[in-house]
């Protein structure tokens, strides 16, 4: 049997198919765009599976369009991270428009979670807009930030206010890399606060697209003094978790 998980997020859609041994046989990605169901349909059309579970912001729309069961991304990321790193108890997921800190019971079930509020402060979207303001490509934003020689403090977390703060720092002649570093530090301050509210020790599994940013992962580990473990493809963990959950339906 083949089991699929589809994670329809605000920025991208991921599809993962696993076999009976929970091995990944296929993984695909597409931009969410403005018509997520059309994109989702394109992804699933080329793939064979017996059962599918949807997660992410588009899950309820997918449920209606394709009559598939759904789980929240919190449960999906927890399940995916727990399988990739057996025994893990803390998961941080930073995606396109929200971030979550999750703790798990020993059996992988969700014990507690925290989530950012309605604004996109401290998420992938925030980093993307800030990278653009500073003229960096998002793919190199983290590596550039790591080149900063001094730490610079950015106090605003709101995308709108941070953008004006960044503009005034640029006007003062501050280095782009240092401003970038300061922005990364501000994201970490928020993420660390969220993690500390749910868990105080042990390794952290970092999932979601933002885990590909090397500055974020370095600063997170430094700030918390804890080991941060990153999956090979962190943005696929939600879809992978959903696929595993699909294989467990009775």
């Amino acid at each position: 049997m083949r089991y699929a998980g589809i994670d329809i997020g605000s920025r991208s859609i991921e599809l993962v198919v696993v076999d009976d041994a929970s091995e990944v046989v296929c993984s695909l990605q597409a931009d969410t765009g403005f018509n997520p169901m059309a994109e989702a349909k394109k992804l699933i059309n080329g793939v064979n599976y017996d059962r599918i579970i949807a997660t992410g912001y588009g899950r309820n729309l997918f449920e209606i369009s394709f009559e598939a069961p759904t789980v929240t991304e919190i449960k999906a990321h927890a399940r995916g991270a727990w399988t990739l790193f057996p025994g893990s108890q803390t998961v941080l997921d930073i995606g396109g428009q929200d971030s979550k800190a999750i703790t798990l019971f020993e059996n992988g079930k969700v014990k507690k979670f925290e989530m950012n509020d309605r604004c996109a402060a401290g998420t992938g979207k925030f980093l993307e807009i800030m990278a653009r303001t500073l003229g960096f490509k998002i793919e190199v934003f983290g590596t550039e930030a790591l080149l900063a020689k001094n730490d610079l403090s950015i106090s605003s977390m709101c995308t709108v206010f941070a953008e004006s703060e960044v503009t005034s720092l640029i006007a003062k002649g501050q280095s782009r890399q240092e401003i970038a570093h300061g922005l990364h530090t501000s994201v970490i301050r928020r993420a660390a606060g969220m993690i500390n509210r749910v868990s105080s020790e042990g390794d952290i599994v970092f999932t979601g697209g933002v885990a590909k940013n090397p500055c974020i992962t370095t600063l997170l580990s430094e700030k918390l003094g804890r080991n941060v473990r990153i999956p090979d493809e962190p943005e696929f963990v939600g879809a992978f978790g959903a696929a595993l959950l699909a294989s467990e339906i009775d």
Partner: protein, 379 residues
């Protein structure tokens, strides 16, 4: 039968507006209330009509924000907005307003509200267990009595107060009995249905009409008239909602819980079970009112131990599977108390809690849905 009753309720609501207009034309006064702490008995004893004025609707908030700060609790902004836009018939009907020094936002809002309508603010103590607090509150109720006497021209003697206490005890008894039907498993009433009935009954000038309507609903729910069998599946998780008050227009969390396949079976808040108290009918009436009303377990009190006791009792009696603690944005007292409430529920029942902070706008519906669904997945 359900539709008959809901239609009947709607009819009574419409009739109620006409009733109040007529009562006013005949010289009866209307007194607007903003908090559970002020005893409605004092109005009722003078044949005045008490009306609850706390805003539960998002519409007037934009107008309120022309004067009030944006980062203020939506209940306060909504209440004030209804006054400045003059769009609430119950505010229009009110001859005078009674407020209390509950939270900072409300007591300062009353200073501005007094520009639109005569407003009297009672000095509510911030603790409940001291003799000084009780004597202060009793003297404030004495002042309240004089205010109402001046307004109505009716001398509120002890007999009148006792009669009012008996009537309001009957009303609270009916509310409690109605809320208690959901102790049954599965819950005979959806949380949204319960909320609508309690909310609407609160505006009825004729208390007896409200009482008989609620009694009628109780009978019908026991016959299973309100929810079809498939909606009463035993697998629906039973959620207790605690924290800030909710009403029609500020009930989005209740709706999302229901859409996610669970039930809100009870409300531990001042629009729900905090109203399920009984005032002693035998002792000095003003003493009895001061003591019982001051005991209302709102987070403006410090300490607020009564809320923990009430919550414990309700989780047990309503067989709650989970607890959602709702805070209106910028309601500092409920927001901070949420820390201890979460610890208490976890330690006492080994149950996780979901704390939500939101306002009356719909813009965060999907974010709330993720949290609520994830919480239900955990139970």
């Amino acid at each position: 039968m359900k539709h008959d009753i809901m239609n009947e309720l709607q009819r009574i609501m419409e009739q109620n507006i006409a009733d109040i207009e007529q009562a006013k034309a005949e010289g009866q006064s209307v007194i607007g209330f903003y908090c559970l702490y002020s005893p409605t008995e004092i109005a009722v004893a003078a044949d005045a009509i008490p009306l609850p004025l706390c805003g539960t609707n998002n519409n007037p908030i934009a107008a309120a924000e022309e004067k009030l700060p944006r980062n203020l609790c939506p209940l306060i902004k909504s209440s004030f907005g209804f006054a400045v836009t003059d769009t609430c018939p119950f505010f229009q009907f009110s001859d005078i307003i009674i407020g209390d020094t509950t939270c900072d936002g409300k007591k300062k809002m009353f200073e501005l509200l007094s520009r639109y309508k005569t407003t009297h603010v009672l000095q509510l103590p911030q603790s409940q267990d001291t003799a000084m607090a009780l004597s202060l509150w009793r003297s404030e109720l004495e002042r309240f009595r004089k205010i109402v006497e001046t307004q109505t021209g009716v001398v509120i003697n002890d007999d009148r107060l006792r009669a009012a206490i008996r009537l309001m005890n009957r009303e609270r008894g009916a509310r409690k009995a109605l809320m208690d039907v959901n102790k049954d498993k599965p819950a005979p009433l959806a949380g949204s249905q319960l909320l609508e009935i309690l909310f609407k009954a609160g505006f009825l000038a004729d208390k007896k009409k409200g009482i008989s309507l609620m009694e009628e609903v109780i009978v019908e729910t026991k016959n299973g008239a309100f929810r079809s069998k498939d909606l009463r599946g035993g697998s629906r998780k039973r959620i207790l909602l605690t924290g800030v008050p909710v009403g029609l227009g500020s009930d989005k969390v209740v709706k999302i819980v229901e859409q996610s396949g669970a039930d809100v079976v009870a409300f531990e808040n001042c629009s729900g079970y905090k109203q399920a108290f009984f005032v002693d009918e035998k002792t000095d009436p003003l003493d009895a009112l001061a003591e019982q009303y001051l005991a209302t377990p709102c987070s403006v009190m410090s300490p607020n131990n009564g809320r923990f006791d009430l919550l414990k009792e309700m989780i047990q009696e309503f067989s709650a599977d989970g607890v959602i603690d709702l805070t209106w944005m910028a309601c500092h007292t409920y927001n901070i108390e949420a820390v201890r409430i979460a610890e208490f529920v976890q330690e006492t029942f080994g149950m996780p809690i979901l704390h939500l902070e939101t306002d009356y706008a719909e813009s965060d519906t999907e974010q709330l849905r993720v949290r609520i669904e994830a919480y239900l997945e955990m139970l």
